[in-house]
Amino acid sequence: MNEPVATPLMQVRALKAFYGPLQVVHGVDMDVAAGGITALLGANGAGKTTILRALSAMVRREGDVIFAGQNLKGQATEDVARLGIAHVPDGRGTFGALTVAENLRLGAYTRRDRAKVAADLEIIFSYFPRLRERYQQQAGTLSGGEQQMLAISRALMLRPKLLLLDEPSFGLAPIIVKDIFRILRAINREQGVAMLLVEQNANLALDLADHAYLVETGRVVLGGSAQQIRADDAVRRAYLGY
């Protein structure tokens, strides 16, 4: 059922995830292409966020996650980050009491190449000029859109190979969402960062993504290119609304 993806950066096999004794993800297989954008679609509570959390080892998991040829079995969240997987969690996860500058510095916490970090900061400002204006401001005082930009930028400061994005559109005005998704596409093209996007808004996600998987009650029920998914009758009726 799942289309093989050329040069997968991450291969997920039989992934199960648990909250305490409760199993939420029941054996998910999927691939994330290097340099591509892959979307996880599905209704509220389908287990999309949990899949992302399992990839970052934030919840108990079983199964195999192979990233850039390395099995992530037994790796803790901080090790996963150090391998080059940056996670923008739901709720954005910015450090509200710290300044924008400190948030961005934390994003690069594991890096020792100072000159490149400084250069990356400039690249980030070129995508999100607002953050330069707000640089010394407390992150908690930013607007929702600005906080999302900060969360994405914080993740990019890791210079990740893969960016995990959990509902970047959540709680934001449509015009800001459009802006952020346009910038995400630009970052993907220009910086070559692969992205795995969790999104409830299927239209939005399929516009951005090359590949998509449909998640229902903790299982992948459909996978393929964005066009194929968009063309699927069941998806159209249930998730695209036309």
């Binding site: 934030m58 969240t77 940056a86 996860g93 450090f95 009491a97």
Partner: protein, 290 residues
Amino acid sequence: MSTFAHQFFSGLAMGGVYAILALALVMIYQATHLVNFAQGEMAMFATYMAWNMMDSGLPYWAAFGLTVVLSFAAGVIIERVIVRPFAKAPVLSMVIVFIGMVFIFNSVVGWIYGYEIKDFRSPFPEKAWFGNTLMSSHESGVIVVTFLVLALVYGFFRFTPLGLAMRAAAQNPASSRLVGIKVGWMLALGWGLAAAIGSIAGMMAAPVVYLDPNMMSSLLLYGFAAAVLGGIDNPWGAVAGGFIVGVMQNLVGAYLVGTQIQLSVALVIIIGVLVMKPSGLFGRVIVTRV
């Protein structure tokens, strides 16, 4: 007038000790939202170590430095071995662990060194500095040390990546892990720093209150009052609180209630602050927007 000034300045010096102790409390509170009741006894233990080293011929500052380093290591080990297993336990279990540590440190020191009161040297010269008639050199020295400790703590948290990582880990452990911070080690480091800072408080207090296994019990109460007064999440507030409590304790003791019930000043401050302004005089109110 001169009695008043003398009371004021010696209060300031004792306030320095409370301030350092409060800083140590704030350090652990910020990271874990727990108040380490054993902070005073840990400091007392460290002070005995310093006494031991000096007794066997080590010069003061060598013993001082070594004590700070050993206390740091001990703090890290205590977090790893004693506190860590209770990381997910309810707050009350943690309180019991702290109280247990109070008794353990107290009796172990009593067992090793005995309960008779010992003299503890001051590193500062006997003659007051610059012909200062109001404060002894030890009193001025304590105030200088307080500001040095505060400057170091502030510089560490404000300007070093590790300090930033510790602040981040205290504030949002989940996000900290996502940027690659080893949160567990940050907690251990916080305990190490708190123990090291506490040991300085002990060594500064000992020449005044003398060395005995119970030397810290009332000091910790004042340190706690200082931390609460200043705002327990704010290092600056803790230090300001320390000085205020020190001065108030002396003035109230000298002019209002007498020294017998001086200690209740600390309790009155704690209760008063908790009732009137729970975040303390300088407690930070975090602005958030959702």
